[in-house]
Amino acid sequence: MSDHEFGGNDDLSLPKATVQKIVGEILSGSSGIAFSKEARDVLIECCVEFITLISSEANEISEKEAKKTIACDHIIKALDQLGFPDYVPAVLEAAAEHKEVQKGREKKANKLEQSGLSLEELERLQQEQFAAAAARHN
């Protein structure tokens, strides 16, 4: 808790390396153009400002709806109201995707189950092949 308070300035911006990486990925299509360090720092500030803007708007919306928790819906409404309606579909998609991932995480695939055969079947298959091999060499 106290970490939150005192971590302060440093923690309340985005990790520079991550931002740099994402910028690089965005610019990978347009060859040769790079971001200067100053521009990246400004960009990070802009990003933080963006998050703050969205979250405070979403907070207002949630308060109007008498909700205590900011949900995805509020973010989407906030985006809509703040002039970013074109982000909404992709954000919805990402949220749905995340839900799916959370679900899929529950059941981890088992190699034995994936083969679709029971232990007995597998053993029988092995014995058959042993027999065939023996027949071939005799």
């Binding site: 994402i22 790079a34 521009a39 979250s55 597998l122 042993f130 065939a132």
Partner: protein, 409 residues
């Protein structure tokens, strides 16, 4: 558990080394892993039962009827069935000097006629068990001659290849060509030889067409080359046509690929959701946040960054610059009302970044004071919330200069 695992995967990847050793001898006392390899053997036996029939009689035929199969027929048939790609490893193997590989080279038609993809492994196993007789080895060891011809074989048209291969093979006709021809003669009927023959006649042409296309467009990306090759297979002999088609269709394909790469690239890295949540909750008004919310915000942030970065990159390109500077970012932000909430931040650009203006509200206050002391009319405009955004740029520029003056004074 581990036993089950190996049981499931053993048939996929047969252990050929144990196959060699166990081949001649019956499975007497194999250990656990060898059983597993044997388990995969029946697949081979089913596939290989025809080869086995001729692998044994071959030396006898060679001795009794040396000239019975016409070598030219084989030489004509073989290049058609051997794609140039395949020949390379075969001849390279000869250069290295392993006779079994060289011998394997004479059976690709048979291997090719198998529909199974995994057959190449049994093929090698087969040649190895066939253990080339010692008297056959000398003709295989001719690295200088073979090496030269191998280089020539890379790109010539099929007819030339046939001739070269005829020459080569005439040198060792007596030994292994007869052997191979006999083997093929025996193998052909059961495996529908003509069908693969037509199929495999195309790869040399494909290679040619691909080479031509690549020669015409050096910077062609591999995807386009593959497309060109595919087109070349369809109309192998009308090379000019395919190249024309390729040229017309390539720009769209290239742009589509570029767009796809950009789309894919932006999705890759994600912002840490914990950090986003913390930034959101830095605002004291913000209370609880649902689990999904930081993810939604992260996605929105990503789109926001994409928009901002691509636009500033465009500005950089217009200015013939390779680097996006903070000023360019500022220009982008100020050029669009959508981003008016960023003007506070961007306003600090141009040296004042280092001046250490803290948060937006503080700097605004400081500027307001500076302005109030110097210019009253701008202060009046800046008071209103709506006007503040519109007049922000001027205000900022003016405010900064004035502040500098004030500091000097």
């Amino acid at each position: 558990m581990s036993g089950d695992d190996t049981g499931t995967y053993a048939p996929k990847s047969p252990d050929l080394s144990s196959f060699y050793s166990a081949g001649p001898t019956p499975p007497a006392e194999p250990a656990e892993p060898q059983f597993l390899s044997q388990q995969s053997r029946p697949d081979f036996s089913r596939l290989q039962s025809p080869p086995r029939t001729y692998s044994i009689p071959n030396p006898q035929h060679q001795a009794s009827a040396p000239q019975s199969p016409p070598p030219q027929a084989f030489a004509q048939a073989r290049p058609a069935n051997n794609p140039t790609v395949y020949q390379a490893p075969g001849f390279g193997g000869v250069g290295v000097g392993h006779p079994s590989i060289a011998q394997h080279e004479y059976y690709p038609p048979r291997a090719a006629s198998y529909p199974m993809t995994g057959y190449s492994q049994p093929g090698t196993g087969y040649t190895a068990t066939q253990a080339p007789p010692p008297q056959q080895q000398p003709p295989y060891y001719q690295p200088p001659y073979r090496g030269g011809s191998f280089q020539h074989q890379q790109y010539p048209p099929p007819q030339q290849q046939q001739q070269q291969q005829q020459q080569q093979q005439q040198t060792h006709q007596l030994q292994h060509e007869l052997l191979a021809a006999q083997a093929q003669a025996q193998v052909r009927p059961p495996y529908d030889y003509p069908v693969p023959a037509t199929e495999y006649a195309s790869p040399p042409l494909q290679a040619q067409a691909q080479a031509q296309a690549q020669a015409q467009a050096d910077a062609m990306p591999p995807r386009r080359a593959a497309a060109a090759a595919a087109a070349a297979v369809l109309a192998a002999q009308t090379g000019s046509n395919t190249e024309g088609d390729d040229g017309s269709s390539s720009p769209a394909a290239a742009t589509a690929a570029a767009v796809a790469s950009i789309e894919a690239a932006t999705v890759k890295t994600k912002f840490p959701t914990a950090r986003i949540k913390r930034i959101m909750q830095a605002d004291e008004e913000v209370g609880k946040v649902a689990q999904q919310t930081p993810i939604a915000v992260g996605k929105a942030l990503e789109l926001f960054m994409v928009a901002l970065v691509t636009k500033s990159a465009e500005v950089a390109r217009q200015r013939n610059s390779k680097r996006v500077s903070a000023q360019m970012l500022k220009q982008v932000v100020e050029g669009d009302d959508q981003w008016d909430f960023l003007r506070d931040i961007v306003g600090k650009v141009e040296g004042e970044e280092k001046g250490g203006k803290g948060s937006g509200s503080q700097s605004q206050g400081g500027r307001g004071k500076a302005e109030s002391s110097e210019t009253d009319e701008e202060m009046g405009g800046g008071g209103g919330g709506g006007d503040a955004a519109a007049g922000a740029k001027k205000k900022r520029g003016g405010g900064r200069k004035k502040k500098v003056q004030g500091e000097k004074a």
